[in-house]
């Protein structure tokens, strides 16, 4: 289907999210939509998919102007969207989630739906069991489920909003194959991303948005430098890789075993030294979050021990609070849900985390502190901004700004998930500063480049199996990708490096 957007305008309050954007996407193509966080990509896509109504402008499908007032309208016209956070129902069975929203009689025909689901899944080689539950799926599999569901509803135009965020390399390869296949079948694909390499390797053309405006378009072969310039209006240098000289022992993990709901980790050994960065790689749900949570005292191991500091103080079975008192900080992936308190302002967050003494809050002092941190951490917001009003990148900056000055160990889940390149570079420069002061960092990421770029040593997780620590220099993206997918594990033990 030929999709045309003409002079789309959308304003939220004072912010002009989309300013007279026109875009023409022919069928059987993959249109990349690039831009940094807050450039207006998602707004434009939500307009096309009926989530928002534009202030002005029109949408044409195959040359005919259409009115789209709701997502239900959009899907009737054949437009389906995969949202950045999958809009599915985690506690439901896959088949129920699949059926939900399909028009029909009072009693859905489960058997027929199940058959059609299996047929569709088979066409794309998706291994999904309709009787399993949605919350047992990885983010990548939930995307597959959404793709199948939208196709089943008759979608001819598919919009993907940041689909490569939070999925592993093999899943990404699978996703890209699927998108190419869909395009080859005549579908119109819109691929929204802030990741240049994804757009470059996949799209048949790219449009770049900056601050709500369409600033340029490009065709393959893409010129990376030009795209970066269009996205940011300037060039961005990547910090050179520095290897810290590891110091004294910070954390000793001794043959630790942990049991999760669906998975078990057995006998992990790891020594983390001061100034070191350890990357935990693996597909979502392979055990890395479980392990990181246990390092913070949030999950209890069923065997083995955790010791902190040079004097090997045994912390096994202690609560998170006691870990925290010994200088361990934990930054969860769900920033707004677990890391920050929605509804409280930045100032109030600093008051909470600094533990300014006394019964009454010293407003002046607190505000001064907030102002200082906001400028040091370059947060786009005021002391009075409530945290949920900040963008993802600024929320992550706020989390960093909230950390106490003297820490021994920082545990981070997905430090840069969903952030643009500029924020990513900034976040890591701040984390590296901490390393230079002697803090050790253990982080989880599904971005293999990030793992290799920033860690000294890497632990690979696959379905609860944990590799010995591997030196990052000894790994390549391909090698790491294979390990994450469960291949090549036979040759591992020889390479084990522990120190």
């Amino acid at each position: 289907m030929l999709v045309e957007l003409r002079d789309i305008d959308k304003t939220f309050g004072k912010v002009r999210a989309n300013a007279a954007i026109s875009l023409r996407i022919p069928p059987a193509s993959i249109q990349g939509v690039l831009g940094e966080n807050g450039a207006g990509k998602s707004t434009l896509m939500k307009i096309l998919s009926g989530f928002y109504t534009p202030d002005s402008g029109e949408i044409l499908l195959d040359g005919k102007a259409v009115q789209i007032h709701s997502p239900a309208d959009a899907i009737r016209h054949g437009i389906g969207m995969l949202h950045q956070d999958p809009l599915d129902f985690p506690p439901m069975k896959i088949l129920d989630d699949f059926i939900l929203g399909r028009q029909g009689g009072l009693f859905p025909n489960h058997r027929a739906a199940s058959r059609e689901f299996r047929e569709l899944a088979g066409q794309f080689g998706f291994a999904l069991d309709p009787e399993a539950y949605v919350d047992s799926l990885t983010v990548g599999e939930r995307q597959q489920l959404e793709i199948l569901r939208l196709l089943w509803l008759g979608a001819r135009v598919l919009i993907f909003d940041e689909p490569t965020t939070g999925i592993s390399l093999p899943q990404k390869v699978k996703l890209f194959d699927t998108l190419k296949k869909l395009a080859a079948e005549g579908m119109t694909i819109l691929f929204v991303s802030h990741k240049l390499e994804d757009v470059e390797s996949l799209c048949t053309s790219a449009a770049v948005l900056r601050q709500g405006e369409l600033v340029g378009a490009a065709e393959p072969p893409f010129d990376t430098r030009l795209l970066v310039e269009m996205m940011f209006g300037k060039e961005l240098p990547l910090a050179p890789k520095k290897t810290a000289v590891p110091g004294g022992k910070i954390l000793s993990v001794k043959s630790v075993s942990i049991e999760g709901v669906r998975l078990q980790i057995r006998g992990v050994d790891l020594d983390v030294r001061s100034g070191e960065v350890i990357g935990l790689a693996g597909m979502e749900g392979s055990g890395q979050s479980l392990f990181l949570g246990a390092c913070a005292g949030l999950t209890q191991p069923v065997g083995g021990s955790f010791c902190l500091d040079e004097d090997e103080r045994d912390m096994t079975g202690r609560s998170h609070l006691e870990f925290k008192k010994r200088g361990v900080a934990y930054l969860p992936a769900a920033r707004l849900e677990q890391g920050l308190v929605p509804g409280l302002t930045l100032t109030e967050h600093f008051v909470l985390s600094e533990g300014l003494g006394g019964l009454f809050v010293d407003r002046k002092k607190a505000e001064a502190l907030a102002k200082e941190r906001i400028s040091t951490f370059n947060i786009k917001g005021t002391p009075e901004s409530v945290v949920e009003a900040l963008s993802g990148g600024n929320q992550q900056r706020a989390l960093l700004a909230l950390m106490r000055p003297r820490l021994t160990l920082i545990l981070v889940e997905h430090p840069t998930r969903g952030l643009d390149i500029e924020s990513t570079i900034y976040i890591w420069s701040k984390l590296k500063e901490r390393c230079e002061q002697g803090t050790a960092i253990v982080f989880i990421s599904s971005d293999l480049d990030e793992i290799l770029q920033y860690s000294d040593r890497v632990l690979v997780f696959f379905a609860g199996q944990v590799s010995p620590p591997l030196r990052a220099e000894s790994l390549s993206v391909e090698r790491l990708g294979a390990l994450i997918g469960g291949k090549d594990w036979e040759n591992l033990p020889k390479e084990a490096v522990n120190a």
Binding site: Y52, A72, F89, L100, G101, G105, Q300, V302, S319
Partner: protein, 332 residues
């Protein structure tokens, strides 16, 4: 007690659980849609009084029940209006309504206090009533008790087996996802809140026209039932079968209090009357104890087989509420 007496008493327990089942099923429907109707205690009292009053003046049982359902739907609609349209706290509004409706029922019910009114009579099912054990237990009841049996299955079937039921679960779980799939979230929430309120509103007339026939104001003995209904809804994991189990347990405990009274002369009768309430709360605590951090901590230190089985049991008992329960839905 002879065997016969025990069976007859248990049949009484099933009948006494009837109104509680209507209450929890109504609340379950409403909460599945994401609306907490905290007014339950007031709703049951007001619909009990209202249903009895209507029945008394019209000499029609059907109109009495209809009035009860109407009152329930009306109170629920107030909760829905203030939360969906006015975006106010469901908990605050529901709580105030619980108190308001209770006092309103005592005040408005003054003129009909203690009067003799119509009463639902037993309707033994021909043929089945003479079955050994099951006959007197299940098939010698009044129509509303039969309806309470059917309601359990009907509600379960609707929620888990039909297309609208699927959407009902959707709007309570993740309204944004339901909206994307074509649901008018606001309108559906109004509908299910009112429907749940109507079902729960039937609990009142079942008391005043059957289980505890008549209206006796503050000594009707209905005050507090609504709060237990809310607790059982949680214990029931928002599933009609489990909720029914909770309702029967509660009715059984109440009956036990009465039976034990003569054999425990040292214990004040008030203690036995009130005992079912803390016992229900205790059950609730036990059911959801698996979520507590110290339990997880203790469990982690236990030997393997114990840990696995105990963990499995705790997880099976554990229930998670509809994710969007009590939260308003906004598109942006």
């Amino acid at each position: 007690m002879t065997e016969n007496e025990v069976v007859r008493s248990l049949a009484g327990v099933l009948a006494a659980a009837g109104p509680v089942i209507f209450g929890v099923t109504g609340e379950t429907i409403s909460e599945r849609a994401g609306i907490i109707n905290l007014s339950m205690n007031g709703t049951i009292l007001l619909s009990a009084m209202g249903g009895f009053a209507v029945s008394l003046s019209t000499h029609s049982l059907a109109l009495g029940f209809l009035a009860g359902a109407g009152i329930g739907a009306l109170v629920a609609t107030v909760v829905a209006f203030s939360s969906i349209t006015l975006k106010q706290s469901q908990v605050a509004v529901g709580f105030v309504l619980a108190l308001l409706c209770r006092d309103l029922s005592y005040f408005l019910g003054n003129p009909i206090m203690g009067q003799m009114g119509p009463r639902v009579s037993l309707l033994p099912i021909p043929g089945l009533q003479h079955l050994p054990l099951l006959g007197p237990l299940l098939f010698t009841q009044d129509p509303m008790t039969y309806l309470s049996f059917i309601l359990i299955f009907l509600a379960w079937f609707f929620i888990f087996r039909t297309r609208p039921g699927l959407m009902l679960r959707g709007i309570g779980e993740k309204p944004a996802a339901a909206y994307v799939r074509g649901a008018n979230v606001g309108r559906l929430r109004y509908f299910y809140a009112a429907l749940g309120g109507a079902v729960a509103g039937l609990a009142g007339p079942i008391y005043s026209l059957s289980v505890k026939a008549g209206w006796k104001g503050t000594i009707s003995g209905l005050d507090g039932i609504g709060w237990i209904v809310l607790a059982i809804t949680i214990f029931g994991g928002w599933s009609p079968f489990r909720a029914a189990l909770g309702a029967y347990l509660f009715a059984f405990l109440q009956w036990l209090g009465l039976v034990l009274q003569p054999s425990l002369p040292g214990v004040p009768s008030q203690v036995l009357q009130v005992a079912p309430f803390p016992l229900m709360i205790l059950t609730l605590l036990l059911v959801n104890i698996g979520q507590a951090e110290w339990v997880e901590r203790t469990l982690a230190r236990m030997p393997e087989p114990v840990r696995r089985d105990l963990g499995k049991l705790l997880r099976a008992m554990n229930v998670t509420p509809p994710a969007a329960l009590g939260t308003p839905f906004e598109k942006d």
